[in-house]
């Protein structure tokens, strides 16, 4: 009997355990069911929200279209600004080039005047004038005339391309060079070259305080030089003024040196 009771008790225990596991499983299923129901409710709610009304969709679409339009306007404004900036850049670049050219021109003019006033030796001044006319103006054949105040005639003191003796003499007020000296302004006849030594293509009068002291006559340009630029005309003005002053100062210095030597000679003679 006791063996049957033991079996029965063991079976009861097993059944109870099975029942408890079934109860736990049922609870889990109920919880899962609850969770799925909530999930379903959320999905249904989302669906309802999404398909709520065509007006909501229209409103959203309108807002998006407004945003697109606003962005397009902004894009247009940015493009216009970019265009403006590009134009400004171009203007700055052009201005930079202009200033650079002006700077280069000023450097040329500075060098010309600096060199002209760097010496009081007449030959040196003439050499510098020739250097400037060759290197800065680009002339091939030209002559530097100096006025002989006692005769009123212009004689060639230095030349390039043609020996000085081949240039004709001229008088103030007569001929192309002589007339340009009266006008006291550089005269440009605008031809490529002139083989007539009495008719240069450019005549630059040299004068100090409105008194003519000579002229630079240009007859032809270097083959790579293509006409006269604005800088050349400015150089003509610099030469007209500064070369004249430099020549005048050099002549005065030379005369004073000679006089000083003469006086010194007298003094030496008297004191010995």
């Amino acid at each position: 009997m006791s063996g049957d009771q033991g079996d029965l008790f063991a079976k009861g225990e097993e059944f109870l355990s099975l029942f408890n596991r079934g109860a736990r499983f049922t609870k889990e299923i109920l919880r899962e069911n609850e969770r799925l129901r909530d999930e379903l409710l959320r999905v249904e709610d989302r669906q309802q929200t999404a398909a709520r009304t065509p007006e909501d969709w229209g409103k959203l679409r309108g807002e998006l279209l407004e945003r697109i339009e606003s962005l397009e306007q902004e894009y247009q404004t940015v493009r216009e600004r970019l265009h403006q900036v590009e134009e400004e850049n171009q203007q700055f670049a052009d201005r930079y080039l202009e200033i650079e050219e002006e700077n280069n021109n000023l450097a040329n003019l500075y060098v010309a005047s600096y060199q002209l006033h760097s010496t009081l030796d007449l030959d040196e001044v003439l050499r510098i004038i020739i250097e400037i006319v060759i290197n800065l103006v680009g002339a091939e054949v030209f002559a530097v005339y100096i006025l002989d105040e006692s005769t009123g005639e212009l004689g060639v003191a230095a030349s390039e391309g043609v020996p000085p003796s081949e240039f004709p003499g001229c008088v103030v007020g007569s001929g192309a060079i002589g007339k340009s000296l009266e006008s006291a302004e550089p005269v440009c006849w605008q031809t490529d070259r002139s083989d007539d030594l009495a008719q240069p293509i450019v005549s630059i009068p040299l004068s100090v305080q409105n008194s003519p002291i000579g002229a630079i006559a240009i007859y032809s340009l270097l083959q790579q030089k293509d006409g006269f630029s604005e800088l050349d005309h400015e150089l003509f003005s610099v030469l007209g003024g500064h070369a004249a002053t430099a020549l005048f100062a050099a002549r005065l210095y030379s005369q004073s040196e000679r006089k000083l030597n003469t006086i010194q000679g007298f003094i030496d003679l008297l004191t010995k």
Binding site: A107, Y114, Q115, S118, N135, Q223
Partner: protein, 125 residues
């Protein structure tokens, strides 16, 4: 970076001053001057130079002779050379280039062109 050394070989003080003005706009360069071909050869043989600007018509030794001496010297032949001259004829250019000049500029010079050529030969931006 070491300063680039430029040698100007030109008999005209006016041109030398003008070239110095132009080249001074380059950063980190040192400019030396020689008044004729012989002076130029002396300087280029005794110091290191990265570029030589050489005139053709000069007293004592002309520019073409100087270029041929530089190009025949193993220690000097790699120095870039730019000729700056009044000679604008095609044959003058060809002669200078055949002797080994890298560039050929005619007078009157334009500072911008000199700068651009110098930058190119010195390989600077």
């Amino acid at each position: 970076m070491d300063r680039r050394q430029i040698l100007i070989v030109e008999d005209s003080p006016t041109m030398r001053q003008l070239l110095v003005f132009a080249l001074r706009r380059l950063k980190d360069v040192e400019i030396s001057e020689a008044q004729d071909g012989m002076d130029g050869l002396r300087k280029i043989s005794s110091d290191h130079y990265d570029l030589a600007l050489i005139d053709i018509n000069m007293p004592v030794m002309d520019g073409l002779k100087l270029i041929s001496l530089i190009r025949s010297d193993d220690n000097l032949k790699s120095i870039p050379i730019c000729v700056i001259t009044t000679e604008g004829a095609k044959e003058d250019r060809e002669r200078a280039m055949s002797l080994g000049a890298n560039e050929y500029l005619t007078k009157p010079i334009q500072a911008n062109r000199v700068l651009s050529v110098a930058k190119s030969l010195l390989k600077i931006d």
